[in-house]
């Protein structure tokens, strides 16, 4: 489907190395003692192992595992994360600051957003994606400003305000760190509520 026409944009020569590292880097050591689940479960063991209630599972993915390597497919070096660190702050993107607008009226047009959000600075990019089934607006937009202050102003002014009679929420799209406490194993907390700094992300 989609990857029939994949286009080469980036090049990572160290694929094999990255895959080898993945186990050490990414695998949470707390494998669930419960019934054997597909490998892919490990991606979420950090959180799920702490939950007492058993999950209602459904799907063939639970009775077959032909893709044992799936955990390594997404392995990535730290270099590819933009400054993932331990604070919870908006993350700058390559060319600017991206905000997410949600609650957008399904009949909204790009111009409606341009008019409202252009007030806070020049919009470098605007994605107003459509519902693939209905063809109407899906309900969110991603907007890029060049400067932090412009994006911040858009968030401050428009979050909770209305566009086309509908209340919208506006927030940053990217964060420079996890919104769970970095050392969470049992009780994930919002990062902003934590009492002390957790150790910096493991580098190796």
């Amino acid at each position: 489907m989609a990857n029939a026409d994949v286009e080469a944009v980036d090049f990572e020569p160290e694929e094999d190395d990255l895959m080898d590292e993945d186990g050490a880097v990414d695998a949470e050591p707390s494998a669930s003692p419960r019934a054997p689940l597909p490998k892919l479960k490990s991606a979420i063991t950090g959180a799920s192992a702490s939950l007492s209630a058993p999950k209602k599972t459904k799907g063939r993915g639970f009775r077959e595992d032909p893709n044992a390597e799936r955990n390594t497919r997404l392995a990535v070096s730290d270099l590819d994360s933009l400054n993932a660190s331990d604070g919870l702050e908006p993350q700058r993107s390559i060319e600017g600051w991206i905000i997410l607008v949600t609650g957008i009226h399904e009949e909204a047009q790009e111009d409606d957003l341009q008019n409202v959000f252009g007030e806070f600075g020049e919009i470098k990019n605007l994605h107003l994606n459509l519902d693939r089934r209905t063809g109407f607006v899906k309900g969110y937009a991603l907007i890029e400003y060049e400067n932090f202050a412009e994006a911040q102003a858009a968030i401050s002014r428009m979050d909770g305000d209305s566009i086309l009679t509908q209340i919208v929420n506006v927030d940053w799209a990217f964060s420079n760190g996890s919104f769970l406490d970095g050392s969470k194993k049992k009780n994930p907390r919002q990062l902003r509520d934590r009492r002390s700094r957790s150790p910096p992300r493991r580098r190796f």
């Binding site: 997404l74 590819d80 997410l100 919104f179």
Partner: protein, 151 residues
């Protein structure tokens, strides 16, 4: 930003790919419970390339992703009568929301004709559109953040 819903667990992973004469070509992305969005796209067509990207998204982005999934009602579906993955390719959709965990697999779906001709057109249609909406969301996030063209 903080709200009840963010405390309930969330995980999403989508994979589509096949193994053929250009090796293992696939596209995969996942939203991890801590907000990390990971994206990988591998094609060996013409020249060896692999794209791997990851970035943390805010709870607002995760919330929107959850909304898209919830409104699709995919969690009510079952892949039992969907076409099995085959030599042409496979798709996997794994979602954890609250205490529900689905892990669906099926073949690639070329178009709605494939959906209509299947044994579970209603369910497969929901899957078909949800996957497109999710890909659309993720591609926007990735392309805006990294300034790459995902496909």
């Amino acid at each position: 930003m903080a709200g009840e819903e963010e405390n309930s667990e969330f995980y999403l992973r989508y994979y589509v790919g096949h193994k053929g004469k250009f090796g293992h070509e696939f596209l995969e992305f996942e939203f991890r419970p801590d907000g990390k969005l990971r994206y990988a796209n591998n094609s060996n067509y013409k020249n060896d390339t692999i794209i791997r990207k990851e970035v943390y998204v805010t709870p607002a982005v995760v919330r929107e992703c959850r909304r898209i999934i919830t409104e699709s009602e995919i969690m009510k579906e079952d892949d039992q009568n969907w076409p099995e993955p085959d030599r042409i390719g496979r798709q996997e959709l794994e979602i954890v929301m609250g205490n529900e965990h689905i892990s669906f697999t099926t073949s690639k779906i070329g178009s709605l004709v494939d959906v209509q001709g299947s044994k579970d057109p209603e369910g497969l249609r929901i899957f078909y559109y949800l996957v497109q909406d999710l890909k659309c969301f993720v591609f926007s996030l990735i392309s805006l953040h990294f300034k790459i063209k995902p496909i």
